[in-house]
């Protein structure tokens, strides 16, 4: 834990110190500080906070979903939420209601949020009719494909400008959240953590099959609660930052692998801490401090996450499934 905190402090310092404008922390105290403080308070600090919260949220939801589906390869994208958000953004951008020139990102965020939540609740409507969780998973994936098909149609008929904007959104970014949005997301995450932490023993009992065998009603309530929480968090994150890839799948696996435990008392907090640190690291790499250009965050998280997942598939404690 202490080591992680140390790593976090170093990363946070670097993240704040480096950026394409060439402003460093020391410039804050120099005579011409107006420009630097704008860079700081309007760009770099929100970006750092966004990376922290998004990494924490995605890895937290990923952990919850992996427990619910008892499958280590499940992540926040499986419930069809990312596709829902994509569909919303596609409708707004490709239909021309929002353009690259627009500074205001709220139509996109609203559309992404509405569609992500709509798909989430559609899924729950269907899920209640099924007995097992795997059906939920399959329906979630099928809904994703449906949304994807509609997006494809929209892409086919749209012009270059709109297409570029949609593609950029899809690459993900930590540079899009305002302070208000950060506060909303942060409170949401705190509430979610407290609620789920309170259920840590039940989640452990779920792992050993105790709930399924002896208290199926309790199990049903627990699964529903966890799905709603993971779904809502993911919807918000995706709406704000685009579909950030692989953090949600890779971090819980990495955490279980490093700590060698399954107790949710520690995993829940661990997923938040490790998720946020890794997200900041990925963002730092994507901003390429040695150059004035930057990479899409999704490319970095994929490069980072996929090898972890491949290693886990071979070495994982999850051999049962």
């Amino acid at each position: 834990m202490l080591v992680l905190f140390g790593v976090f402090l170093i990363l946070a310092y670097l993240e704040l110190n480096w950026g394409s404008s060439g402003v460093g922390i020391k410039d804050l105290f120099s005579p011409s500080q107006e420009y630097s403080s704008v860079v700081f308070y309007e760009i770099r600090i929100p970006r750092l906070l966004t990376a922290l919260i998004v990494g924490a949220s995605l890895s937290f939801s990923g952990l919850i979903l992996q427990t619910v589906f008892r499958n280590p390869l499940v992540g926040p994208s499986v419930l069809g939420i990312s596709s829902g958000a994509s569909l919303g953004v596609a409708l707004v951008t490709l239909a021309g209601y929002s353009t690259l020139a627009d500074q205001d990102s709220s139509p996109k965020v609203m559309a992404a949020l509405i569609f992500a939540l709509a798909i989430l609740f559609l899924l729950f409507g269907v899920a209640n009719r099924f007995k097992d969780n795997v059906s939920v998973l399959i329906v979630g994936m099928l809904i994703s494909y449906l949304a994807g098909a509609v997006v494809d149609i929209l892409i086919y008929v749209s012009d270059n400008e709109a297409l570029k904007e949609y593609t950029l959104w899809g690459m993900g970014s930590f540079a899009r959240m305002t302070y208000t949005q950060i506060i909303i997301m942060f409170s949401l995450l705190i509430v979610a953590y407290l609620v789920v932490y309170n259920k840590r023993n039940l989640m452990n009992q779920y792992l050993i099959g105790e709930l399924q065998e002896i208290a199926p009603k309790k199990k049903k309530r627990l699964v529903f609660l966890l799905l709603v929480i993971a779904g809502v968090i993911t919807s918000f994150v995706t709406a704000y930052c685009g579909p950030i890839a692989f953090i949600g799948i890779a971090i819980p696996n990495l955490l279980r692998f490093v700590l060698k435990i399954t107790n949710h008392k520690y995993l829940l907090l661990g997923s938040i801490v490790l998720g946020s640190v890794v997200a900041v690291l990925c963002d730092l790499i994507s901003s390429m401090p040695w150059s004035t250009r930057s990479l899409p965050v999704n490319a970095v998280t994929s490069l980072f996450g996929i090898p972890i997942i491949i290693i886990m598939v071979f070495k994982s404690r999850y051999k049962g499934l």
Binding site: R70, R200, N201, N204, Q205, L207, I208, G209, E210, Q212, E213, I214, A215, P216, K217, K218, I261, T262, N263, K265, S316, R317, Y318, K319, G320, L321
Partner: protein, 244 residues
Amino acid sequence: MNHLKGIDINLGYEEKSLVSEFDFDLRSGQIIALLGLNGSGKTTLFKTLMDTIPLLGGDLRWNGMSMRDFSVSSRQKIFSWLPARRAMEESLKVYELLSYSAAAVNNEDVLKSKRTLEVMTKITDLMKLHPFLEMPYHALSEGQKKKVEIAAMFMKDAPVCLLDEPSVFLDISNQKEIADILRLFAKEEGKIILFSSHDLALIENVAETCWVINNSKIEVSNNIKKTIEEYTERDYTEMVLIEN
């Protein structure tokens, strides 16, 4: 002294009643063996007691109170259950399975309570589980898995233990160990133990009372030896009759 009583109970499924008009009265320390052919309603009886299958008729009383009004959580605290096959995360280590199981009844953070640690030490000593504690469940043999599951069942410190075929996959020395542990928990911890089995040696060895499910009725007998003889003879005759 705990007390589980069934009054005129009726169990099975909506379309098919399996057992009807059964009365029983169980007290701490009793060990009951449940006999019956496949599909006669042994597992259904267990599940009805735990309320995962609704009771079709009659009433169940726990220490004099009707269990109808009990919440899911309070029922969960009364019964610990050994299913024939457990759907669990197989990557768990043995000690994790044991400690999560303990937390199911006292709902504390695992391994904090002194009582849990005591029970854990006692069970791992008795069942000689020390070499397995750090091993993942999936790496165990079928017999070892069964043993660990029985240990997990006792780790959940509930007053009534229901075991569905506890001796399947076990070799002779392990069967003896299970018999010893069932007797010990009934005697020292005052558990009410109800187990189903086709293992006549185990039944003869540990049970004080026998419940035989036959033609939708449960016959209660205290003469185990005689019951087993009658049971095997009757079923064997029935099978021969059916075949011809």
